[in-house]
Symmetry: C2
Subunit: 483 residues, 2 copies
């Protein structure tokens, strides 16, 4: 409840999406109090409503990680420079954005310490210590923490100097097992994105140029925002033995020979909150999928002074809470009903229930569903089940709407002109020769910084010449401008 709440005259103004999508985004995330700008360069404060969404995402992810045999750990946030330097590609990728601790108390440090930009280097150091024989493998670890990347241009949730994420790090005895882990975790991400966050995603492989610093292969899921731009919503990397060789992660295999371990890492971050906002939000503010809404149902007493209204609301609240619904009773008497309508619509609560004397007389409540902004009535009898069904419908509805938008803005393109038009408000699906020269040209000419090759290459193929050079095509690729 922020400082605006006591000004009843306050009417939220959100910039229309089609006028300035970027300003619309900023208006929504700040007015809904998901976050605020921090008095630290490039950093944000995740406020209670934003953090509650993050907790829902964490739960959805973490329970699935554990089902797959992952164990949580915590590694130090500071990494000595010498550890960071061991894997050449990795250093090159991350060094330009590292924040360095150079002083501890009154002591000037002899070696600089990096605030972790990611933790492969320190996990590898410990993996090398802990791994002796094949019996020690696999080790499948994850940590929930924050990382720091000294970014120049920042936007809350999308790109900040510090952000919250999880990073999984696993080592395996065989290349097959590591590849399976890489794809299993990508599938976990896809499932949470689509089934929980209602974000349709394209999953696939990044080009060699775009893979993670030090990885042999990087896979990602790409979501389309309402301005047609891509948001990379999760990545999963297969390192092969790249880091194992640099950090000496060896084990005695079943044949008694020393062998390097195969390694993966995978991560998602608070970016997902930005993706939810930019996929589902509308002119009135947020629209949250019920599966991750911190408040799924808000109950508003209408004419609370009339006999029976308060009691009915309290009973309803207790019943829904007992049934496992995340419900809030908004019984504030310092603001008007109209203010509350506006407030909860802004905050994207999936279902609003209005309970007034006339509703009660008729044995019903009035509902408002945030996805379609439709109103109706539901009988008090059997309300819990009806609400659960309604939330399921809303969840599916948000997904379907987002998917329809994405599909309508994904274009099969056959030449550079079409490609340029496509990425000006959507994704281009193009045939590509596999040469970096063409990739670079497309990227530079159209600012197409997102490239992702879908898995089902064969069935997706729709031509045999590269969209750029006209030579023989090898891959189907999605191109898009990216966040």
């Amino acid at each position: 409840m922020g400082k605006n709440k006591d000004k009843q005259e306050f009417v939220t103004f959100i910039t229309p999406r089609n006028e300035d999508f970027s300003q619309w985004y900023t208006d929504v995330i700040t007015q809904t109090q998901l976050c605020d700008y921090a008095p630290v360069r490039g950093c944000m404060i995740v406020r209670p409503y934003g953090y509650a969404i993050w907790e829902q995402i964490q739960q959805a992810m973490d329970s699935r990680f554990k089902e797959k045999g992952t164990e949580n750990v915590y590694f130090p946030m500071l990494i000595p420079e010498s550890l960071l330097l061991k894997e050449a590609e990795h250093v090159e990728g991350f060094a330009p954005e590292v924040a360095w601790v150079t002083q501890g108390g009154s002591e000037k440090l002899t070696e600089r310490l990096a605030v972790r930009p990611t933790s492969e280097t320190i996990f590898c150091t410990m993996f090398a210590k802990w791994t002796q024989t094949w019996r020690d493998l696999p080790m499948k670890y994850n940590q929930w923490c924050s990382v720091m990347r000294w970014e120049k241009a920042t936007r809350p949730f999308l790109r900040t100097s510090e952000f919250l994420w999880q990073e999984g790090h696993t080592i395996h005895a065989s290349a097959e097992e590591a590849q399976e882990e890489t794809l299993t975790m990508l599938e976990v991400y896809r499932e949470v994105a689509e089934d929980v966050l209602a974000l349709p995603v394209y999953v696939g492989q990044k080009s060699d140029k775009e893979k993670f610093a030090g990885a042999r292969a990087t896979y990602s899921m790409e979501a389309m925002m309402q301005d047609g731009k891509a948001l990379q919503a999760g990545t999963s990397h297969n390192f092969g033995t790249n880091f194992a060789e640099a950090y000496g992660i060896q084990f005695q295999n079943k044949e008694g020979k020393l062998q390097y371990a195969e390694e993966t890492s995978w991560g998602v971050s608070t970016r997902l909150i930005g993706a939810i906002v930019m996929t589902h939000g509308d002119e009135r503010g947020l629209r949250l999928p019920p599966a991750i809404a911190p408040i799924q149902v808000v109950i508003l007493p209408i004419a609370a002074h009339k006999p029976g209204v308060t009691e009915a609301c309290e009973k309803l609240f207790a019943d829904l809470k007992a049934a496992g619904v995340r419900v809030k009773l908004d019984d504030r008497d310092t603001v008007s009903a109209g203010f509350k309508f506006n407030d909860w619509e802004l905050k994207g609560v999936p279902v609003r229930l209005e309970v007034g004397p006339r509703d009660l007389e008729n044995g019903v409540v009035t509902y408002f569903r945030r996805d379609t902004c439709e109103k109706g009535t539901l009988p008090l009898e059997g309300l819990t089940e009806a609400l659960k069904a309604l939330m399921k419908e809303i969840q599916q509805g948000l997904y379907d709407q987002a998917k329809a938008f994405r599909d309508a803005h994904t274009y099969e393109v056959h030449n550079m002109e079409e490609l340029g038009q496509a990425v000006d408000g959507g994704f281009a699906r193009a045939m590509w020769c596999g040469e970096q020269a063409c990739e670079d040209e497309i990227k530079e000419r159209f600012n197409a910084s997102s490239r992702n090759m879908p898995f089902n290459q064969e069935e997706m193929t729709f031509g045999d010449t590269c969209v750029c050079c006209g030579k023989k095509a090898k891959h189907v690729m999605y191109f898009a401008k990216a966040y």
Copy 2:
């Protein structure tokens, strides 16, 4: 599963407690793989088994915080030096142990950034921005994060440069409400410590000298370790308007006048894991209270090749899991049964079940309870309920044993000689005049760095002269050597 697990000849050696308590502690935490030393000065790695205990503690705390109306948030880990400098006492207290970021990417920073040693200063900065009128209050926020204090002498879980904790920060419209919050959260800590972690604690108020830098009053809970030393296991601070004045946290009160907000903060950390180890551990390793044991029951098949054994174990596992028991089936065939006994005793799993052909013939399982190391049998029929009852008994038994130890090592002392003897293996309860000179003398002479005044002063009073100077006594105080 670490590198020792494939060497069947390996027998764990733990230094006896009475020979070298400190080495015993180190042996236990490393051999149980709760943690490992990090390749970063003064830092530790929290390994899966240690982190799983932390997750249990987090759940117990977090659910209670939320019941009390606390909301989780996330604030940046870096704090500009200028913000840190605003409250003089606070700076003085923390500046000597701050790690400083001075470089971001290739850019040398114009202002140093502290890696947060605690977050009052940045919470206050935002509270000042968010607080306008009494309607905005209270704000009751908490974050789970790590903090950094550049410590010279470190020990895993007890004192490390970086550690995991939660920090609650709340602001209120009245002094009464802030004081109530301070004591409410202390009571939450006590409840979790005693009812969940089975740690008996003395709760009370710190002396003026010992309070948190910038606080008007600091309360703590103190647990006694098996060497008789005190471990401060949680603190709750009332700042009054101290920080509000320094950071300008003002609100318009109901009378329309500007007023400073009253503030509290409170925290517990991974120190609690150290407290569990040093309170309950024995010569065989850990003994974990069932309420926080990541594995409450481990099932060991005996002669697994005999018909029915594996099936019975799997059914038992499924039944217990379905009943909400945190259960593990140890069906490793690479180590002997004896190795497994040793392993799970070391790890402190409360109950071990052995399931062999003879047990099954008799319709029973053999159990081993870790708290008393007693063995017995339980009928297969009704086993889940019997196990739940057994775990309750173990939980209570560990608490009772720890409390009996603490009470037996808490001494009412009447002079300095008695005080010196008492703190050489326990707590001294003494009368104190309230003068810092006496407090300092006691601290310096006996290294009694823990001082805590119990709440029920009147009923605890047992004399009227100060144990040190002989003048009129004002307070009852617990003195102890501290971790």
